[in-house]
Structures are given as structure tokens and as C-alpha cells.
Amino acid sequence: MDEQLLEVQDLEVAFATEDGLVRAVSGVSFTVSRGEVVAIVGESGSGKSVTVMTLMGLTRSPNSRFAGTARLRGEDLVSASEEQLEDIRGKEIAMIFQDPISSLSPVQRVGAQIVEQIRAHENISKAAALDRAIELMGRVGIPNARERARAYPHEFSGGMRQRVMIAMALSLSPSVLIADEPTTALDVTIQAQILDEIRQLSAESDAGVIFVTHDLGVVADIADRVLVMYAGRLVEQGTVDEIFYDPQHPYTWGLLGSVTRVDRDPPRRLPAIPGQPPSLVATPEGCAFRPRCPHAFDRCRELPPLAPRLAEAPGHLDRCWLAPSDKRARREVAGRIGLSEEAAAS
């Protein structure tokens, strides 16, 4: 089994606000091993970004509260001091953000930004760092790298900017790479290229990748394992095949059901999960998905633990009280996986 790089246990992140304590992340646990791509999926507000940003210590503020641990090669990131984190960020664990135009400094040349990343952790000359930066830019597919290193971010197209971010993130060969919706701001053709880039480079460097996205197509393309988050909790976890072919949680069925399929006629209305995600301040007791779930029953008032419920798939965990046989029956809607008849609407 590959070396386990990151072990997150019962991570909780909450923010004290005027309206009360917002529980952005409640009891999330997962691991990331060398060379694997773990996708975290969920809608906006599910807690996926907060989870990964907490790994980098970027959610720390006077009103944030943390519990649980996140051990990177044994060292806990949640309780680490700022100095320790400054050492780790960029070097052991690096992040690519969603919108490269706002995530790169507008007043600094692109090469200089990569140089800054390198020299933040390595004591080498600017010239040597620049050479490395240029080489990295070449490797991520930026043509004329030496010239382009002197350009500013606004002089690049979206895809090229994201490649710069990737080059910067991988410049010190981190063990874990976090990609927070790196392709959301790009058009689909560029998206495919960037995904290839990420996949190839992380395979070369043998890093563990955490890929945050709301796009199941991307998940199918790139992930080895998938974590499904809802209202700050992990509701399902498994390999990509398990999640796509044998999903165990109604929310996952809803997600899969809302993807329009190329092999069918387009629906009159796009299928959607009816309702809204719950408030994270006053989380209802029991299963958070209950108000929107057509399969809910009285047991659902009790929060289901995240546990494996299929003997043949011990790594496949979910939070649903329904019996597995029941699940297989209920998730077949109009000949495909979906949440309910009305959600399918085709």
C-alpha cells in the first residue's frame, strides 16, 4: 500500500459570527496517499473549500474555532504554530486556487512570483531560482517561457495563468497538492488540458492530490477516490467506481442524477435536487439531508455515522440508514441513477 501522506481525523471548523457559530466543517476524516487523487465533491457551502484551506492554515482568524487533527507525515497542521505552517506551506503542501487572475499578484511579473515561492524556502540566488522557474513554466506547457516569465498575469490567458499557478505550486515538489476548483473559471477545452497537466505532473512527482470540485465530470476523469460533502459533513466516501456505479447516499444520487447525459435526449428541465442546503448555524438534528430527501424515514432523525455498510467494499463509507438493498431499488429513476421522480423530470 502506498505511503499515507495526510491523515485527517474528525476535523471540525467553525466560525463565530454575529448570527451564531457557523459550523462549516463537522467531523471530517479522510486520508491521502502518495500518488492518489482524492476528489472532494459538494455544492457551494458544503465545506469543501474550508476543509482544504484549513489544511494550509488559511482559515485561521480571531473568530475561527478548530477541533480534530490533520497530520501531514505525522505533524499536525491544525495545531501547528504560524512559524511551522510558514515552513510547510509551499514546500510540503501547496495549493492551486480557483481564479488565477485574482490569485496572482497583478503588479509582479509571473517569473518573479514563482521565484518568490522558491526562495521562500530555498536559499538560492535569484538567477538560479529564475532558471528553475522558467524550466517549470516550460514543463507545464507555457511556450517561450524565458520571455513570458517577464510578463504580468494580465498579459496571459486564463489557461496559461493557471499553468503558472501549477508551476508555482509544484516548484518545490510538495508531498500534497491541493487544487481548489482550478478549472471552474476556465472554459471546457482548457479545462481538459489543465486536468491532464495536473494529472501528469502529480504522477511524475508522486504527490498526493486533493481535488476540490463540484463538477462530477472532472471527478470521473481524474479521481481515484471520492469524498462527498454536504452541510459540512462527509456523507459518502469511496473509490471513483464505487461512487459512480454503486452510490449509497441519496445526496450522491441527486448529484449524479443532475448530470445531463450525452447518450440520451436532453430533458425538458434540468434535474435538480429540490430545496436548499441547511443553515450551518442551526444544523437540524439527525441527518442534514433529511428535509430534502424523498426517502427519509423516522430513523433519520438520528445522525447516521459514517460507516461501511457493504461487506464487499470495506472502504466505501456512507451516512444513510437505508438498507443497501433498499438503496439499490430506490436509486433507479427513469432508468438511471437519480434522487426521485420529480427531480428527474425528463
Binding site: E86, S102, S103, E116, Q117, A120
Partner: protein
């Protein structure tokens, strides 16, 4: 760049023209304005007044008067009505004094404002931040004559730490030059420090929330590096623009109250006297002088802006 300069030079000419016309026009409208009378003196007879009027051309149509005045200004021959001094020469002599007052005060206030504004932005809501807010309100509200007078009273009279008034040339005795100017420098700087530091503070807090600052932190840079290299550099734009205008106005003599209170023979003092006497020539020259600096410094601050932010292309 040359197009930029050409366009700015052209707008300078237009502005100077407009300024001169407006100032000249104002005096035509003032009811009690009678320059011939003022020049001739209190006890002058009507004949004398008429003679003065003819000599100075006050009986000619206004546009002729305007033309004459402009000609005199640009040939450097214009005389003021109160003391018969050559206005342009006076400006030339007095400018170093004003510059000695304004330039070091400006450096002082900018440095202090950047430091205090940064410290406030780093710890918003804390004591330093709130203290600065009070200082800013005081600085904006307090009339400069009051501040200057209080400083003079406390530190030159009550506690004889500083000399009363007057100006020593830099060439003759640099130490004395500075010694005489310290209180005036404080008077000028005190007014602007509060305001500029608050502007920097809000600008820095805005920038600090931007995504690229998060990226800088994610690279493993220390908070100090993140602040200085990323936040501060991107927050300077507003104060650069404000400074250009403030500095230009001060060089043109806007510190007239300070110069008067501390008896510094600068341009402001000259202009203040001229205003009191309704003496048109120095006022005209002063207004145009200031207008010139305003155009110059707003062009310079645009250039600095473009240097700070590569996304900006210089336009006319």
C-alpha cells in the same frame, strides 16, 4: 510617453489660461475694489487717483487690462500695487523658503502616515488603530492657525525649546535653518498624517482581503513579507494621487497661514498679504503658479501610478 507629456503640457496651458481669466474676473466683480485708490493712498485727492488710474491703465476696457497684465507677467515685469515690488522676483526669492517648509514636512508626513497606517491595518480594531482614528479626526478638524499658534505658544514661548519665528537660510547655517523650521514642519505634517494614514489603512485592509494575498500566504511567506511585498505595494495608489494634489497646492503657497504665524518669508506669506490688500498681481501670479504645480504633480503622480501598477497604461 511623449504623447502623454504633450497632452499634459497642452492641458497645462489651458488651465493656466482659465485660472488667470477667473482670478482676473473675480476682481472685476468685487464691489469695493478700487486699485487706483489703494495705490494712491488714503488721503489722495481725486486728481491723484485719476492720474494713478491712467498710469496703470485702470480706465481701459477689461480685456485690454487683462492683456496688459498677462504681458507684464510673462515678461517678468509685473509690479505689485502695495509695495511696488517685482512680483516675479518676489516669487523667485520666496520660493526656496516655501520649499524648505513644504518638502521636508511632506516627507515627514508621508513616512509617518505609511508607518502608522500599516500598523493600523495589521491590527485593526486595536488601540493603535482607534488612536489613529482620533488623531485623523483631530488633524482634519483643527484649524491650522490654531495648531500653529498653540505649537508656538507651548514650545517657543512657554517652554523655550524652539525659536519664536523667522527663517534662516540653509546656506548660511543648516542647523539653524532646521531649528527654525521644526515647529512649522510639525504644524503642516500634523494636519495630514491622520488623514493619509487612514486612507492607507482602508486601502490596505481592502487589499489584504484579495485572493493574491492568500496565495502569498500559501507560498509560506511570513506575515511581514506578505504585508510589505504584496499588501502595501498594492495599497499605495490612493495616497499617491492625493499626495500629488496636496503637495502641488502647498508648493503654490497653500501653507500661507503657517508661514504667516511663524513669520517665514515664503510665497504663502506674500500671497496672504496680497489677499489682505486686494493686490491683484501677486494673487494672479500665485494662482497661476499653483495651477502649474497642480498640473505637473498630477502628471507625475499618474506616472508613479503607472509604475506601481503595470495594468495601467498612461493616457493623456
Amino acid at each position: 510617453m511623449s504623447r502623454f507629456i504633450a497632452r499634459r503640457a497642452f492641458s497645462a496651458i489651458l488651465l493656466l489660461f482659465a485660472t488667470s481669466v477667473v482670478v482676473f474676473g473675480i476682481f472685476e466683480v468685487i464691489p469695493s475694489y478700487n486699485p487706483a485708490r489703494a495705490i494712491a493712498g488714503r488721503n489722495a485727492t481725486p486728481t491723484t487717483v485719476a492720474q494713478v488710474s491712467e498710469k496703470f491703465g485702470f480706465d481701459k476696457p477689461i480685456y485690454v487690462q487683462y492683456g496688459n497684465t498677462m504681458k507684464l507677467i510673462f515678461t517678468g515685469q509685473i509690479i505689485d500695487y502695495s509695495d511696488n515690488l517685482n512680483v516675479v522676483q518676489q516669487f523667485g526669492q520666496r520660493f526656496p523658503v516655501t520649499a524648505s517648509l513644504v518638502v521636508p514636512a511632506a516627507i515627514l508626513w508621508m513616512v509617518v502616515a505609511i508607518v502608522l497606517g500599516s500598523l493600523s491595518a495589521l491590527r485593526p480594531g486595536r488601540l493603535m488603530d482607534r488612536g489613529l482614528m482620533v488623531a485623523a479626526i483631530v488633524g482634519v478638524s483643527i484649524p491650522v492657525f490654531l495648531l500653529a499658534a498653540v505649537l508656538l505658544y507651548l514650545f517657543a514661548f512657554k517652554l523655550p525649546w524652539f525659536p519664536n519665528t523667522g527663517y534662516t537660510q540653509f546656506g548660511s547655517n543648516p542647523a539653524q535653518w532646521a531649528y527654525h523650521l521644526i515647529l512649522p514642519w510639525i504644524a503642516i505634517a500634523a494636519l495630514s498624517i491622520g488623514f493619509y494614514s487612514r486612507v492607507l489603512r482602508s486601502s490596505a485592509l481592502d487589499v489584504a482581503n484579495q485572493d493574491f494575498v492568500r496565495t502569498a500566504r500559501a507560498k509560506g511567506l511570513s506575515e511581514r513579507q506578505v504585508f510589505v511585498r504584496h499588501v502595501l505595494r498594492n495599497s499605495l495608489m490612493p495616497i499617491v494621487t492625493l499626495f500629488g494634489l496636496d503637495f502641488a497646492a502647498l508648493l503654490g503657497g497653500a501653507a500661507l497661514v503657517t508661514e504667516t504665524v511663524f513669520n517665514l518669508p515664503g510665497i504663502g506669506q506674500y500671497e496672504a498679504q496680497a489677499i489682505g490688500n486686494l493686490d491683484v498681481p501677486p494673487i494672479m501670479v500665485g494662482a497661476m503658479f499653483t495651477a502649474f504645480f497642480v498640473v505637473l504633480f498630477s502628471a507625475l503622480s499618474d506616472v508613479v501610478y503607472a509604475l506601481l501598477d503595470p495594468r495601467i497604461r498612461l493616457t493623456g
